[in-house]
Amino acid sequence: MTEQMTAWLTPRNLVVTALLIFLALVPAYVAMTGNAFLMTLFTRIVILAIAATSLNLILGYGGMVSFGHAVYLGVGGYAVGILAYEGVASGFAQWPVAIAASALLALLVGALSLRARGVYFIMITLAFAQLVYYFGVGLDRYGADDGLTIYRRSQFADLINLGNRTVFYYLCLLLLVGTIYLVWRLINSRFGLVVQGARSNDRRMHAIGFPTYRYRLTCFVIAGAICGLAGALLANHTGFISPATMHWTRSGDLIVMVVLGGMASSFGPLIGAVTLLVLEELLPVLIRLLASGFVEQPVAVRVSEYWQIVLGPLFLLVVLFARGGINGLLESMRRG
């Protein structure tokens, strides 16, 4: 093996490659076993990974902690839902609107929030998330609190049939890979360096001559737009949209994915999304199995319902001791 190849064979790269291959083969496995649930689960994982990747752009690289990012999942979803409700089923109309509306909202929210620094900014994004959430609750015509059912997936003429689960899954996977690549290019461009520099030392950036506000705002808008696309995908996937998608605790979920997976890394958000959602399914099962060894079955089942209590402290531990998330841990194994 050449030196370049051995240099590339790090634990982290191996894990990421394995993960991507695994994701690519999910439909094949589902076809063999007939386990439709896995298809649903992993489509959801891939879509949320897109949203998490867009959040990583502003959070991990830009240092902008937004507790309102899930709002764009909602906006994108409602764009699809409302247009479908009003008779516009074409994806060619729905998806651009989803992206544009999200970008516009991000422009508005960002313009007002980014003037603030640090904790002010975080709280303001939280408050705006509530604002949009309550607006959604007030959308009487479109289901308000109960939400809106979307009866047909976005139509793309004869180009692609999103009703086919496998086709839809691969489309989402393709968009995920595309998003990760786009973010990677963005981050290493002049624009990306300014955004990262602003996170690292904003005062210095101004001193050397960068008006950082406009770059950070642009970054915020791009992230919102990508998340809007994820929202359109999510609405197609679940066939349903409600204000609950936009609640600030959903934004918290995205933040957990990004931090757990690894901030400011290309694949961290994907790793985080996979980890979190798989844990959600696995942990109860594992705990029940473990507890069954000590207590009776009904009690074991009860105990397994409380799996979420592990998540909070686990997250705190990651923040305290493994700031770079899983990706960071994998990277540090290289030297070991």
């Binding site: 240092g63 902690v65 007002l112 003037r115 603030a116 640090g118 904790v119 002010y120 975080i122 709280m123 303001i124 939280l126 408050a127 705006f128 509530q130 604002l131 309550y134 607006f135 609750v137 007030g138 009487d140 308000a144 600030w248 605790t249 918290g252 933040i255 957990v256 931090v259 409380y306 979420q308 209590i309 998540l311 909070g312 402290p313 686990l314 997250f315 705190l316 923040v319 305290l320 700031r323």
Partner: protein, 305 residues
């Protein structure tokens, strides 16, 4: 007119409750430079403890005091075990770390008390009304809240204006060396301050408990309002928190009370009944937006760090 006055009193009461919550938040932020998202969890814990202890002791006052004590213990325990390790880190780590605490508390409460909410019923002597004005009978309990909250506000005023700790708060001191130079045991001070913050949050929680249901997640909803109060008032300023809290309390309460009727005049009845509550909820955030545009540092900004 009397209805309006009654809503004003309600708004004042709600505002004072918000002030208690916001004051605790600002206190911890001012002294320890600590952004504590789990502050709302302490509010929730206070309410749950109160519901439990009042049921156990069959005395409202005793139950409330026990709940307060228990909450302070919980708060201090959290400080020693978790919060302490976050000092000196940047605010992002605070937000992330305390967010993890929120997840933990919500789940812990669910395990101990179950997913359904609790109710806390008032004793008979607090369920009466007082004739505030001819034609206006106001619930004794709400008056009790107002009086208690004002008393605490006064206590905080004395604390901030007349003591050494207060000096630290006003100076926005989050400097461990400077605090140490004043001959104070840092670890103990921080734990006590955090305990005080927890007390304020728990007090707000247990006072609010009889009025609204005690349920999981109640802390987060009001926490956001507390942060809005701090943003409007100016981070680090207790005076700003007081003014802003009263403002927010009044606007929110009066808005919720009269906006539906106002909208019903303009829109269809069905439309008004869904849009109105949503719009009332949005009112506060719209106010915050306006304040941010006009005065980005809040109404009573403290010297920036």
């Amino acid at each position: 007119m009397l209805l309006f006055l009654e809503q004003c009193l309600n708004g004042l009461q709600f505002g004072l409750l918000l002030f208690l919550l916001a004051a605790g938040l600002t206190l911890v932020f001012g002294i320890m430079d600590m952004v504590n998202l789990a502050h709302g969890s302490l509010y929730m814990v206070g309410a749950y403890f109160a519901a439990t202890f009042v049921a156990l002791t069959d005395s409202f006052v005793l139950g409330a005091l026990l709940a307060l004590g228990a909450s302070i213990l919980v708060g201090m325990a959290v400080e020693v075990v978790a919060i302490r390790r976050l000092y000196g880190r940047d605010h992002l780590d605070h937000v992330l770390g305390t967010f993890g605490l929120i997840l933990f508390f919500n789940e812990a409460v669910r395990i101990v008390w179950g997913p359904a909410g609790l109710t806390l019923r008032l004793p008979d002597w607090l369920s009466t009304s007082v004739r505030v004005l001819p034609g206006l009978d106001y619930p004794t309990y709400r008056i009790a809240i107002i009086v208690t909250a004002l008393a605490v506000a006064l206590f905080l005023y004395v604390l901030v204006m007349r003591t050494r700790i207060g000096m630290l708060i006003r100076a926005g001191a989050s400097n461990r060396e400077m605090t140490g130079a004043l001959g104070v045991n840092i670890n103990l001070l921080y734990t006590l301050v955090f305990g005080l913050g927890a007390a304020l949050a728990a007090l707000a929680g247990l006072m609010q408990a009889p009025i609204q249901t005690v349920q999981i997640g109640m802390g987060e909803n009001i926490l956001i309002l507390a942060f809005v109060v701090i943003i409007i008032g100016g981070i680090g300023s207790i005076r700003g928190a007081f003014v802003a809290a009263i403002m927010v309390g009044l606007i929110d309460t009066i808005g919720r009370a009269f906006l539906p009727d106002l909208l019903r005049l303009m829109l269809s009845s069905r439309g008004a009944s869904t849009v109105a509550p949503a719009l009332s909820s949005m009112l506060i955030y719209l106010l915050m937006t306006i304040v941010l545009v006009v005065r980005p540092a809040g109404l009573f900004p403290v010297a920036s760090k």
